[in-house]
Symmetry: C2
Amino acid sequence: MNGARISRAVSEARLWQRHVEMGAIGATARGGVNRLALTREDAAAQRKLAQWAELRGYSVSRDEIGNVYVRRAGTDAEAAPVLTGSHLDSQPTGGKYDGAYGVLAGFEVLEALDDAGIATRRPVEAVAWMNEEGSRYIPGAMGSGVLAGAFTLASALARTDSDGVTVAAALAEVERSTPLPRRSLSGLRPFAYVEAHIEQGPLLEAHGASIGVVTGIQGIRRFVVEIDGEEAHAGTTPRASRRDAMATAVALISALQAEAADPGDILRFTVGRMRVSPNSPNTIPGHVDFTIDLRHPDADLLQSFGAAIHDMAARVAARHNCTAAVQNVSDVKPVRFPDDMIALIREATEAEGAKYLSFPSGAGHDAMYLNRLCPTGMVFVPCLRGVSHNEAESATPADLAAGTRVLARAIVELANRR
Amino acid sequence: MNGARISRAVSEARLWQRHVEMGAIGATARGGVNRLALTREDAAAQRKLAQWAELRGYSVSRDEIGNVYVRRAGTDAEAAPVLTGSHLDSQPTGGKYDGAYGVLAGFEVLEALDDAGIATRRPVEAVAWMNEEGSRYIPGAMGSGVLAGAFTLASALARTDSDGVTVAAALAEVERSTPLPRRSLSGLRPFAYVEAHIEQGPLLEAHGASIGVVTGIQGIRRFVVEIDGEEAHAGTTPRASRRDAMATAVALISALQAEAADPGDILRFTVGRMRVSPNSPNTIPGHVDFTIDLRHPDADLLQSFGAAIHDMAARVAARHNCTAAVQNVSDVKPVRFPDDMIALIREATEAEGAKYLSFPSGAGHDAMYLNRLCPTGMVFVPCLRGVSHNEAESATPADLAAGTRVLARAIVELANRR
């Protein structure tokens, strides 16, 4: 009953208007936004959100790391809140939907609850997590990571941007320009978290689906492979005498690509960077290094593929009289959302009659860290050609609203749970 | 008779001593030489050669482009001379044998003729060609190229180094510091040319041979291949949706390497330079370009392999939803030395009882241009591990002398021909 009522109360026009207004803050000439974490533009976006909240009478607060919460009270003042949201910061040449959509969809759910006259047992809070992008300050997902204990507050506050400005100093400036009541990180015990986001990939569009029921966030392992051979004259050195680092790299990447060609097209294998030395047309390269970005939802598969990289590198290099050194430079484990959260979102989608696809997120999100604190789920909506982290990022009002209706159904259900 | 006499008159010790003295001019701390064309060091090397010539009573001259000739007179003053030589200029971090060996071996032949008391019908001249390396002034083999009419004297004199100094100005300075009688390019009609050189490749050493009977100089074609795809997120983009310029480049290079794997190991296929954009570990590359350096003694094969590069690039790119543009940036035709010159050098080698190998040169030499003017041949001697264009370049006194004995036998035979 509540599900159908709140679904009807979601306003596509209002949600779109909010995106237009939010997208004007830090707007770029090419239709995107530049709203780096803890800049004046980020503060202005928070101010805009707080103004909207004030009109509805919601309470707004900010914690010690700069996460901003808009709270619609529940009937049980003691109950742990249901959280929804995402982030308002962007890439330097980012789009209007990455992050902002999750915050504005969450806020739309609060308004729809009001408009539908639904009281929930638990408070519902729309959250803007601090510095998800990691563009100005590394690492990304900093605000949600501190909340979840992935990093300490002190270490996060001490991070500096390329101008040497600390998170602590930038946050103090935001607090000065955009003061909000303080809330303590330590007091926050969410009951559940659901995040809406644009897919940032092509799957939904390719399948003509409007909703992605996200099963988790795939793990990421990064490798650097260094091949050493010997520089030699391109004209005088026969194939049999060569110790050609480029030929070795090509053979190794070919072999790994064949190994990575899973029938389901789930494994993501990318060689994004390659450096060649001396990089001269008439000299056989003596050194090549390249990166491997490897992603999959299954931790065991990531481990076994990583072992295969080491094995194949040694074998292929030996065959070419070269040497290979493989370094695993990062290893982020996959996240699997709880089955009942996935089921909840799938059922909400089915209730909407929307065509959906169920798959893990290829990119990282704040939900990755929230899942350590409470049952977590995610809803994806399509974006044009999967393009994101780009000013050309685009999504339709209808798709944004459809995702918000699914989110609203899931939230109202969670907010009335014991 | 003359062959055995002149072979015995070649002095390994004297030849080695000349290398030691010449290697001291422009010597580097790491055992090589830095003797760029038309520098003070190059002039000093010419002065040294002229001093040695004076002690023997040979006439020395310099032509308008700076080639230096040491002439031992023949009995027929009207007969066209037999030329031998190479170059005294070096790479900036070059070795003591590349080029210098050919000049000093030629000079040793003149001295051995004296010591053996052999009069030849034709004059024999040991030549130091100007700017073979092409390090300071592009193109290389400039002096022999002007003599052969490959470039005009005026265009060569107008070339500038990286400081804007013209060949004309640098040559005038050499003429001032090291004056020599002038000789006219237009008056020079060589009867034949034989050049001795270190192999600059590993074949002789690998086969335990001391002499290379050079059949010609392989042709060189250079290509630049540009692959365009689309940048995309490494985490969210499935294989089937990718337009991965790196995967395309790897597949194309793999296919071409397979195509280039001739059983005789004659074709030289090298990808020496690759550039990747944006060259970021977590972005699928949207652009990759790379060079192909292709060498073979057969012009038809170079043409047909070039056509295969175009075909395969188009096919492999289409299969990866990318585009490929192939540009043939240079095309130097192969040179085949006359059969009787190859036979002459082979017979001289057999008379020495030396183990030899017969193959085309992988690198370019002045002989490439001399072959346009007169019957031309080359003799190679081994260098350690094939390393050249490197201060570590190394050759043994015994191998240098063995090559000079073969050269001397060939020269004395040619110099008595009608």
